[in-house]
Assembly symmetry: C2
Homo-oligomer: 339 residues x 2
Amino acid sequence: MKKIMALVLMSSSSIVSAQWQALPETAPAPADNPTTTEKVVLGQTLFFDPRLSSTGTVSCNSCHNVMAGGDDNRAVSMGVNGHLGGRSAPTVWNAAFNSTQFWDGRANTLEDQAKGPMTNPIEMGMKNHHAVMDRIKNIKAYKVLFQQAFGDHKMTIDQTVKAIAAYERTLITPNSAFDQYVKGDKTALTSKQQKGMQLFANIGCVSCHSGAAFNGQQDIKIGTPVLMKFPTFENNAYVKQFDLKADKGRETVTGKQADAHMFRIPTLRNIALTAPYFHNGKVSNLHTAVKVMAKTQLNRNLKQQQVDEIVAFLNSLSGDFPKQTMPRLPATENNTLLN
Amino acid sequence: MKKIMALVLMSSSSIVSAQWQALPETAPAPADNPTTTEKVVLGQTLFFDPRLSSTGTVSCNSCHNVMAGGDDNRAVSMGVNGHLGGRSAPTVWNAAFNSTQFWDGRANTLEDQAKGPMTNPIEMGMKNHHAVMDRIKNIKAYKVLFQQAFGDHKMTIDQTVKAIAAYERTLITPNSAFDQYVKGDKTALTSKQQKGMQLFANIGCVSCHSGAAFNGQQDIKIGTPVLMKFPTFENNAYVKQFDLKADKGRETVTGKQADAHMFRIPTLRNIALTAPYFHNGKVSNLHTAVKVMAKTQLNRNLKQQQVDEIVAFLNSLSGDFPKQTMPRLPATENNTLLN
């Protein structure tokens, strides 16, 4: 339980000092993977390339759709051959501001995360990373893109995920109504949204959902999971109704009972766009999600008006999505890698 | 057999008058669906929207990937829930120059074609077009896009497919090496490619693959299928090896035995990018495809050098792909339509 304590203490102090913060327009990159234009170009191309999956039908973008809210609006994702995933796809937008990746925080970095789905049999279904790199190496024009991005054409899995992570670090949505408000435009939020914002702070949502990304991970060292038990309070009908105890969360990674039902605190940026909600995607609308959260995490019964106000506030967290040019997927001329 | 005769006569005369033609940079639109920017914007958005499928995982672009050669590089496509299609997805690039759509020409127009996959249980799997429109109507921002495109917000299936078709009419790839050559730049093709071009004409490929799009459909009234029997010559091992008699082609549409194994003549534009080949996608590389075509359609045994030359020529038909901005898929705020 140490982690939870630490979290509560940290966020209590942050309420005083820096409660509301605009989203930064750039994300920090690790020392061994500085963001460059060439890497971003390669990474975007790889992100959209379905040939990184066994069937050639599933790209990173299939479940983390950047033309939308960065997820797939499904309860759980559908991978190769119609296989269903075990958890709801988290958004890739602003994922650069998470201190760890996946619902259970099992990947320290965006780079590590990108390795996972490729070889997951129910996601992209590749046999191993060697098979992934075989595919990529057989697509001639990738050699040039790797050369431009890394100064060589070794074309390794580490380079591949570095490029994907570099692209993902550009996926930031600044300038939401909330951000404009925080920066001084007091007309940017309606009075209903302002009431919701106050409520969000007063009832304690902000204890976990703090910082610019509302994920409690501000200034947390990359690689440190920031987790919370969900559900914390079980004395309510929601637990059964939405099957909230089925998934053991981080316990499935560490095997420790103390990690049972511990999940990474998700960002609330663009939350209005990423229904359905929670790790299992069992709640299809945000009003219900707010009610469930208040009850299971804060043991509070919100009135409908309060729910509406908080939802109105959460809708102010939808930001500007940068215009993107579609990548061209390099061809395997006169041949296919899929069969 | 009348159709085949007509075709041969037509192309013989076209060899004399207008054998080699550059690809037009715009496609004609039907009188009842003039191409407008607003329609193209709506159409592009719909084309990329996976919510037009039952599972929310398959968009038009899934099988007709415009970031690539306009298909999926698979033998047969994979629709919702991992279902496999019966034929290989034709490219959407330059489809505006086809006089009919689908391998068996069963849709007269791009508009008609767009209706098909949505409700095909193994493609996008929607129950009916009413269900498709229910989805679209429940995505608020589409109302604005329809209003801008059509001056009203009736939001009908006909408007939906008109917008998609309008977008598809912009998917043209001019300025290939071949086009530059035809327009007078005699250095645009290598001597090997020029030899292949000559061979392509001399041995008779051009009898079917004529006109700017190499699909025999130049100046053919939209709605008129231009078909050829494949295989025409069955006295070879390829028929069995690549299972060329399994699919009855147009007979499956008309029920007429005379239509057995009749298929629309596919464009050869960007053919190097759209492996595997043929209606069944059984041939994974272009060299083999050329050999098979020569034998089954012209009863010719090509030497390896001749095959190489024709393939080199066919590689000159890869054009310029217009830069595209990614669409933003309008959200269903605070809710999902998928479950």
